[in-house]
């Protein structure tokens, strides 16, 4: 039983290896970057513009709006990181409609990598927004006793992020693989559709959680504690 595309290794030289996860990630990167470059090559600032440009504008502004609703004051500063996070996970899930494709997000290595990126990005953005001492000070809020709990929370949520995404994506691919062996016709297609939906939801959840963490880190502690809490009670814990 294969749980991760990491296990499919095309080429290996000592520590360096080219497995399916990395290969499909590159493929996705090429598709996304080339697609973006083609669409944005001839952008129009007038009222008449291409359908693709419209689509891209809708996606970009939609993400920016979501980030703003989460509580990020200047969503454009965080748009490249968080938007790419969403688009990468979403496109990775969308790819499952292609036969023989293995979503890179179905690898715990990928999800851990993404969670680590968030893990680093949160303090980085926090320090950028309120300075080193200001950000570090948030770990001893409301009292010094809370420091270990804050640190544990920081690590555990990163772990939760990665495991959540991995579990969902892996399970989806796994179910399809299992169903293919049992009922090769029709039913896997329905499950694929369900998997697409799950993948989109996961992309959304991952991005929103990362946004909330960043929003919490970049928010200045000006008033009472409850005011600095995220505006949405985002404590989404999915199966």
């Amino acid at each position: 039983m294969r749980l991760s595309p990491d296990e499919i290794i095309f080429w290996q030289n000592g520590l360096f290896k080219l497995n399916a996860t990395i290969a499909f990630t590159w493929a996705l990167m090429i598709v996304m970057v080339v697609g973006s470059a083609v669409i944005t090559r001839r952008l129009s600032a007038s009222d008449e513009r291409s359908h693709w440009q419209n689509l891209m504008e809708i996606i970009v502004t939609g993400i920016a709006k979501q980030l703003e609703e989460v509580g990020l004051a200047h969503p454009r500063s965080y748009l490249p990181f968080l938007g790419t996070l969403f688009l990468f996970i979403a496109v990775a899930s969308l790819g499952t409609i292609v036969p023989g494709y293995e979503p890179p997000t179905g690898s715990l290595s990928t999800t851990v990598a993404l969670a680590l990126c968030v893990f680093v990005a949160v303090p980085a953005f926090g320090i950028q927004a309120q300075g080193f001492l200001g950000y570090v000070g948030t770990y001893v809020q409301p009292t010094f006793i809370m420091l270990p709990f804050n640190l544990i929370s920081e690590v555990s949520r990163t772990l939760a992020l990665s495991v959540r995404l991995f579990g969902n994506m892996m399970s989806g691919a796994m179910i399809i693989a299992i169903l293919l062996t049992i009922t090769p016709l029709f039913f896997p297609i329905v499950m694929t559709l369900l998997g697409l939906l799950t993948g989109m939801v996961q992309a959304y959840i991952f991005t929103i959680l990362a946004s909330v963490y960043i929003a919490a880190a970049t928010r200045k502690l000006a008033g009472p504690k409850h005011e600095s809490a995220p505006p949405h009670p985002v404590s989404i814990e999915t199966a």
Binding site: T25, S36, T40, V60, F88, S107, A113, L114
Partner: protein
């Protein structure tokens, strides 16, 4: 082992590269295009606003000018109407005055004409009356009337007032000549009687000349040295006529005064 740490590192690097590439090829151009469009739309809206404001300003200006023009026109119209009414009033007044003047003048002319006519008539009537009276008295003058006239004349001589008598007597003594004029021929007796009374009254021997003058109308007159003593009907008539003329003149003057 589910986590391959080389893959983790590789994927993290891949992701960061992807972030950079997406920023370079997707977000920045798209956001720039959106910003550019928004700026253009904002500029167009601002331009439209300014044009609208300008149009509103021009409309206000036009409306203001229109109102001013209307006000000016009605003012001018009112002024012209007022002037026309005043002019009309003035012309009517002038016409009325002229008509009144004309009527007054005509009235005065008529009155003057009437007065002249009546005056002329009065004078004519007076002249006629006296002419008739003179005629009648002349026709009636006979011997008895002439005798009576001589008697009256002689009494007049006798009753002459003292200064006149003295003056005349002195003059007659120096140059005793006189003249008697009568409307009729005196008889010798009458001439002698007259001579006697005159001589007696003035205590002088007066050389009398007698002559006949029918215009005296049954009268007798003594003239000497510029003094005249006479009694004639003509004198009466003359006195009466002068009185009547004076009366007529006074009435004419009083009428002109009113």
């Amino acid at each position: 082992m589910l986590i391959d740490w080389f893959t983790v590192v590789a994927q993290a690097i891949n992701f960061l590269i992807l972030v950079w590439l997406m920023k370079r090829f997707l977000y920045r151009p798209i956001l720039n295009a959106i910003d550019e469009r928004e700026a253009r739309i904002a500029a167009e809206l601002a331009d439209a606003d300014s044009r609208k404001a300008e149009a509103a300003k021009e409309r206000d200006e036009f409306q203001r000018k229109n109102e001013a023009f209307d006000a000016d026109r009605s003012e001018r119209l009112a002024k012209a109407t007022e002037e026309a009414a005043a002019e009309r009033q003035r012309l009517i007044e002038a016409a009325r005055k002229a008509a009144a003047e004309l009527a007054t003048r005509r009235q005065a002319g008529l009155e003057a004409e009437a007065a002249t006519l009546s005056h002329g008539l009065s004078r004519r009537a007076q002249r006629e009356v006296f002419a008739i009276a003179r005629q009648v008295l002349g026709d009636l003058a006979g011997a008895s009337l002439e005798e009576r006239a001589v008697e009256v004349f002689l009494r007049l001589i006798r009753d002459i007032d003292e200064p006149t008598r003295t003056g005349l007597a002195d003059a007659l003594r120096a140059s005793p000549s006189g003249r008697i004029r009568t409307a009729f021929d005196l008889t010798e007796a009458q001439r002698a009687s007259i001579q006697h009374v005159l001589n007696e009254t003035f205590s002088a021997d007066i050389q009398l000349g007698f002559e006949t003058a029918p215009e005296l109308v049954s009268g007798i007159e003594f003239a000497a040295h510029g003094t005249k003593v006479a009694w004639t009907v003509a004198d009466y008539l003359l006195t009466l006529e002068e009185g009547a003329t004076k009366l007529l003149d006074r009435r004419a003057k009083a009428e002109a005064g009113t």
